[in-house]
Symmetry: C2
Subunit: 493 residues, 2 copies
């Protein structure tokens, strides 16, 4: 029963996804609503789920079902692709002992909390012992997985399958002079723009109303998702029709939550566009973080910071926030695309954003290599920051404590943000070559653009490699020139 | 290693509680925030967790650990009591096939949704097929469990261990004439009270502020709990320090959410007072629903609707809601204790509340016996309602579709509300016999009362039977006269 064998394997893998998605629910709740004292028990609940999911994904039954499916010789390409990815993942997962997975899950719940406290008091020493533990786990995992050139390869593979550290490194080395130059010119130009033009009083309920209207208008389905409030915006998938976005509110600046929502809704549109019936299988999940981030950055920056978008939305925005009624569209565009050197990555403008990534990639690579001790991170961070931005963070909260990633064990993650930026520009430029898409975009109608993304990116799921997705959609591998051209046009021009 | 054997059993049982509490998180999310389209997958996640928890609680490992612990001959009474309850539960659980548990879990997720839709359109036929399924499951479980007199015994035991249907039935038969008389006099008196005295505009945020202040003032710990909004208020435990209350808001009447919060906070105080280190064991859980409801009703009615409480809280309430500034305390007390016949149980005043329970107990008992077909429920409900209240519900939404319980498979549950009323009055009267508690209550200081409840009810957990809790705390079994005296004093006087 060859087909039956593969179907059984799929059922088993879908069962694992019931557990991993349940863990996502617990994690979402931890970030959004969980009361403080619930932490310790929550960590144990999550650890149990991780352990059980890993045990199911690597146990004898999985092994048996994989072997049966492999000897079945599947005919259709989708099943074959799924089986190949599942086999590769099984081999990778089976190298990690279950105890390590459960330990990591429990550690990260506590580390996240410690990181929040450390950041609040800007005291790196509160977080350092947790980071030490998580770095050790990451390095142990890298050794168990194995790698081609250096341990960082193995970690990077978790987020960007098939991409090597040295490829990223040489790409970033090439980008660095150009990005530095663009940033410097953009910041220079930014000095001429009137600051604080959009400062005002923006009640949360009204921000929420505008954000929801805009998210719905670009296609986010609120019957299969929602927006909540967290200190650190994210998008997470709790089930095939349950995509949760989060944002945070600045009462003086509505653009902070709005661009946050556009960004996360970009992720959400990708998740909502994946083949629902394949949920739990490689073909039903996102391809990589570099592809995921291409979707969020495309909607946030290429759509959301464009003139056509605000030609349509500024009048409505001024209805909701009357203080904007007298504002000129040119001034508004200048204000939302104002570039300046700043300390916080998630608040950085497009022109300076990638410099933050170059820094993190460098720091992480040294950490994972063992060339940078935990205690020396703040100093190394500040030194590199000074080199790239010409200024030094005033404290650790504005320096090496600002990002949540390490506290979640997410080492090897950051590079995907810049890969996402490159992919976003390339996909957007390719889509715009279709006249109907371009004319629709010019009148702020994004249905054809979303249709193109659904067809060329979303519907292919995660069985292909990221490079294959880009190749199919744009006839080229990831290529930096679209992003650089976009930045020059917008910021140097 | 006798002690070791029992410790191993406890570890195993605590592992089961990781799963059941995780299912509670998923259920809480379903009620509070889950988007509509997520339902089907959520049902599968919950079904998996139920099935796994049941498998762990009834599998070979559990059997082996129980046997080992039983032959270890424990010395301390707490361990012995825990072992006895675990043995009894194991025997009960092992009679139910895993498939039935998983089916029931998945059915109820869908049935809850169907019930909401049916209630919205007041169309019993939308819910009837779901209820048919759940009634069949309940009856199958009753047959598998076995019972002394009638199948309803087995269902009642789920919520009120050791209590028989005929005991409840004879108690209710005795109560009925007295309750009917009290209700009739209370309603008559209510006609003299000015209606709609408290109607006004009460913004949700301000209601939330008052509710939180009051819940905190009676001892609810917001670092180990929170309040959210749902269509149907409830209290659920997601972990030993994670107690979630919900309420709903009437923009014209702040007392609806406030008494809802006092009620649910009463449940929450009980949960927060259970021995944390025993979470997952019988000694770390609530004893029964009749005891649980005694706590909620005590805080809602004996505390929250008392004159001393409002002597303290009316000034603060009028600060938050200025329309109440001129109101007289006597008029306010009359307004919040106004009695009238009404259709909806959860909105019923104290004097008429138990009549709603008598009705449900009668209907359910007939359903479970097989004497009442699903299709005939609306008619039977209305006939009995007319007999007790002298009026007929205008539609099913205000009749047999009003309660969530059946949609969750909760047949056998309702009687515990009236048992809770009786226990509440008895516990409150007993506590008040202590001079220091009584004088504190008279100045709206409830710390000594809570201390007494912690010591005499909460700290004993769920290993004793409900009757044993009442006996220990009040030196008597549950006795209706306290409740009847309380109602007469408040409503007939």
């Amino acid at each position: 029963m060859p087909v039956h064998a593969f179907a059984q394997l799929c059922d088993h893998v879908r069962e694992v996804s019931l557990l991993t998605s349940t863990e996502s629910i617990l994690s979402w709740d931890q970030e959004t609503y969980m009361p403080a004292k619930a932490l310790a028990f929550r960590a144990r609940q999550m650890s149990w789920l991780s352990g059980k999911a890993h045990a199911l994904a690597t146990g004898r039954m999985m092994q048996k079902l994989l072997h049966q499916a492999q000897s079945a010789r599947l005919q259709d390409p989708k099943s074959t692709a799924n089986l190949n990815v599942l086999t590769e993942e099984y081999e990778r997962n089976a190298k990690i002992p279950n105890r390590l997975i459960m330990e990591e899950s429990e550690f990260t719940a506590h580390a996240k909390h410690a990181w929040m406290e450390a950041r609040k008091s800007s005291d790196f020493s509160l977080f350092a012992p947790h980071l030490e533990k998580l770095l050790n786990i990451a390095r142990r995992k890298a050794e168990l997985w194995g790698y081609a050139d250096e341990p960082y390869d193995a970690l990077l593979h978790t987020y960007e399958r098939g991409t090597r550290t040295r490829e990223v490194s040489s790409l970033f080395a090439k980008l660095k002079p150009e990005l530095t130059q663009i940033a410097s010119k953009a910041v220079e130009r930014g000095k001429a723009i009137k600051p604080n033009l959009l400062r005002g009083n923006y009640p949360i309920a009204k921000q929420q109303q505008l954000n929801a209207e805009i998210a719905a208008s670009i296609g986010f389905d609120f019957e299969g998702g929602r927006i909540d409030t967290t200190a650190h915006p994210f998008c997470t998938t709790l089930g095939p029709r349950d995509i949760r976005l989060t944002t945070r509110y600045d009462l003086k600046d509505f653009t902070s939550s709005l661009f946050g929502v556009l960004h996360e809704a970009g992720h959400g549109l990708y998740e909502q566009g994946l083949p629902e019936q394949d949920f739990g299988l490689p073909s039903g999940r996102a391809c990589s973080l570099g592809i995921h981030e291409s979707q969020s950055r495309l909607w946030e920056n290429h759509v959301g910071r464009s003139r056509a978008f605000w030609e349509k939305w500024l009048p409505r925005t001024a209805e909701i926030f009357p203080n904007l009624r007298k504002i000129d569209l040119d001034d508004f565009m200048a204000a939302i695309n104002l570039s300046e050197y700043s300390f916080i990555r998630v608040e950085a403008d497009e022109a300076t954003y990638d410099l933050h990534i170059l820094l993190r990639f460098e720091i992480e690579r040294r950490m994972v290599r063992g060339d940078l001790a935990i205690k020396d991170i703040p100093e190394a961070w500040n030194a590199l920051f000074a080199e790239l931005f010409g200024m030094v963070p005033p404290d650790a909260a504005k320096g090496c404590l600002q990002d949540i990633h390490w506290s979640m064990g997410g080492l090897g993650y950051f590079a995907t943000y810049t890969l996402g930026n490159l992919n976003a520009a390339q996909l957007f430029a390719t889509a715009r070559k279709h006249r109907n898409i371009a004319t629709a975009i010019d009148r702020a109608d994004y249905a054809p653009l979303l249709g193109w993304l659904r067809e060329n990116v979303h519907s292919h799921g995660g069985a292909p490699l990221p490079g294959e997705i880009m190749q199919r959609a744009t006839s080229k591998a990831t290529d930096a020139r679209h992003h650089l051209r976009h930045l020059r046009e917008r910021f140097v021009g």
